[in-house]
């Protein structure tokens, strides 16, 4: 699978966030989106996931599929999409059922969350919540990962695990676009967004 984006432009509230952005990403490639705060990294990821409309430009997936782009994506944004009242395993089982995956146990083991799986998400630390959100990557198989600051709040061991997961995903032909300030743990091309005033 590969993705080609050209002439992307997104406006929010009448303000142009970025314009004329393009890149091409082939199977097994990663793209690190860099740039200062407010340069539109998160906006780009949301637009790629189909959560924001494009003001101009197009995104083409090859081979073409009938699925909407969002159905092929894992979008892991700043919000962890965890319900504080539900336990971690209930949260993950729900997102897996919704997104169409079933490897919940394996995901919890892989991210080292087995000890806290039965705790309500309200009692988890920031890093544990982040890991719970990233566990969706393992629980549900999707080819196109959109990760917004994936390494924030993670300890060194977890960063290593995420690095291994990303490496394995690329090895089977997956695609990753990650907005990040820290260097990614995999080899990635860079797309630097400027600040337009």
């Amino acid at each position: 699978m590969q993705i080609e984006a050209s002439g992307l432009s997104v406006e929010r509230g009448g303000r142009v966030i970025f314009a004329g952005l393009g890149f091409r990403l082939g199977a097994g490639e990663a793209l690190a989106v860099k740039g200062p705060n407010g340069s539109g990294k998160s906006t780009l990821l949301r637009a790629l996931a189909g959560l924001l409309p494009l003001a101009a430009g197009q995104i083409a997936l090859t081979p073409e599929t009938e699925a909407r782009r969002g159905e092929l994506c894992h979008y892991i944004g700043h919000a962890d999409a965890l319900k504080p009242a539900l336990s971690l395993i209930e949260n993950l089982a729900f997102s897996a059922a919704l997104l169409g995956g079933q490897d919940v146990e394996r995901a919890i083991g892989r991210l080292g969350l087995a000890a806290v799986a039965d705790l309500p998400a309200a009692y988890l630390s920031a890093g544990q919540k982040r890991r719970a959100a990233l566990a969706r990557l393992v629980a549900v198989q999707r080819p196109f990962w959109l990760l917004d600051e994936p390494l924030t709040a993670l300890d060194a061991a977890s960063q290593t695990v995420i690095g291994e997961l990303m490496q394995a995903h690329l090895a089977v032909g997956g695609l990753i676009v990650a907005a990040t300030h820290a260097p990614l743990p995999v080899t990635a091309r860079e797309l630097v967004l400027g600040r337009a005033a």
């Binding site: 959560l51 059922a97 169409g100 198989q141």
Partner: protein, 235 residues
Amino acid sequence: MSQSPQLNPQDSRKARPAPLRALLLRDLRIGRRIGGAVSMGVVFFLCLVTITPFAVGPDQALLARIGPAILWIAALLATLLGLDRLLQADAEDGSLDLFLTSETPLELIVLVKSLAHWLLTGLPLVAASPIFGLMLGLAPAELPRVVASLLVGTPALTLLGAIGAALTVSLRRGGLLLAVLILPLAVPVLIFGVAAAGDPIVGFKTPFLILCGLTLAAVALTPFAAAAALRHGAE
């Protein structure tokens, strides 16, 4: 390698837990854990029914005559009470992004969320209404009409409210705006609901059947309106 079965989403379609059932169970579980959702509506209902006789005066015949209308107004307001959180919580914590990247249509997700909300808030009101009817001096023989009209009519109120919840999803204090947006739409339901509950002239059957029709129309149409509002609100 790009044709690896691991990355083909089609393969995982077999034998996976139904997303809509999972959503229904999740919302019911959250409602039960957090608590308050069930009791808040019923207590509010009880407050309105309790203070009305003090406002109207101790004329039992009058109370019995306006009883069905009071019960319906109380049910309408109690339904509106918790509706602003129907979709807002999911929008704030990122769950809405999950909904939008799932294969399940957003329309069905809104419908199932409304069903869960009605089971948590509407159904307890229906269950409590015979007792509150007696408190207002309704004749026991009239109670089945009240219960039947509320049972059929309150889902329409919740579904209409879902449109308002979707429109106000990004507003910090959208509750009042939601009420203003939804009340005009709820008026037909209120009219035929009260008529079915206790109008001595038109009888039960005609308004009840129209009420059924309104609810069925709400089931068929409001999820599309609410989903469109949600998609638009994502911009």
